[in-house]
């Protein structure tokens, strides 16, 4: 890891049980707790959302019907341009 491009974060409010599980997993994997947490955070940050998460995040999120109408018209216009 490029340590020049990292920041320090302090995490408060971690449940005791979670901390214990993370420490146990780090010990089992031969890693420091810090390395395990950074690795886990990186994986989560880079993970693509599931389709259910995508739908939950974006479905119904564009509230302006005129904007959707404009986008539909633009798409339709683009497709119609192909008609001979």
């Amino acid at each position: 890891m490029d340590t020049m491009n990292t920041v320090q974060l302090s995490i408060r409010g971690v449940p005791v049980k979670v901390a214990e599980n993370l420490k146990a997993r780090a010990a089992r994997d031969g890693k420091s707790l810090n390395a395990l947490v950074v690795e886990t955070l990186c994986e989560e940050a880079e993970r693509k959302p599931t389709q259910a998460e995508l739908i939950a995040r974006y479905a119904g999120s564009v509230k302006d019907p005129e904007e959707i109408a404009r986008m539909e018209a633009e798409l339709q216009s683009f497709r119609d341009e192909w008609v001979e």
């Binding site: 389709q51 119904g60 564009v62 959707i68 192909w82 008609v83």
Partner: protein
């Protein structure tokens, strides 16, 4: 699993359509969606569509390959009335994968009829929503 037409993505964004099962999109749809943002600028709708598309897993975007092109050629060669090329490329993707195409475009029904007349091609399965 279903294949979503580009116009259906806009219905997802405004909540008129919510897929109940897993879905995929053609690379054609993916490109059309990204094009919208490139062309029309950073409106809320375009940024949201862009983010939605970028969030899709690689497996959810079906590439347009030789297989799809060969199917396209089979039916496009027999269609004499003007048809939009993007529609036919997406239809070819649906036929190639065996996925039902969910669309809001009534013209897909006409394309479905035209494809049905081509020997040895499977039927184009479509569901027209939110028209």
């Amino acid at each position: 699993m279903i294949l979503l037409d580009t116009c259906v993505l806009l219905r997802i964004l405004d909540g008129r359509y919510i897929p109940k099962i897993g879905f995929k999109v053609s690379a054609v749809t993916y490109g059309e969606g990204l094009r919208s943002g490139e062309r029309a600028g950073e409106t809320v709708g375009n940024k949201t569509l862009h983010a939605f598309l970028q969030g899709l897993d690689d497996d959810a975007v079906i590439p347009y390959t030789r297989a799809e092109a060969q199917i396209f050629a089979r039916f496009a060669a027999n269609i004499t009335s003007p048809k939009r090329v993007a529609d036919m490329m997406i239809a070819a993707t649906a036929l190639s994968t065996g996925l039902k195409l969910v669309t809001a475009d009534r013209q897909m029904a006409a394309l479905q009829s035209a494809i049905a007349e081509i020997p040895d091609l499977p039927p184009l399965m479509i569901e027209v929503v939110g028209v």
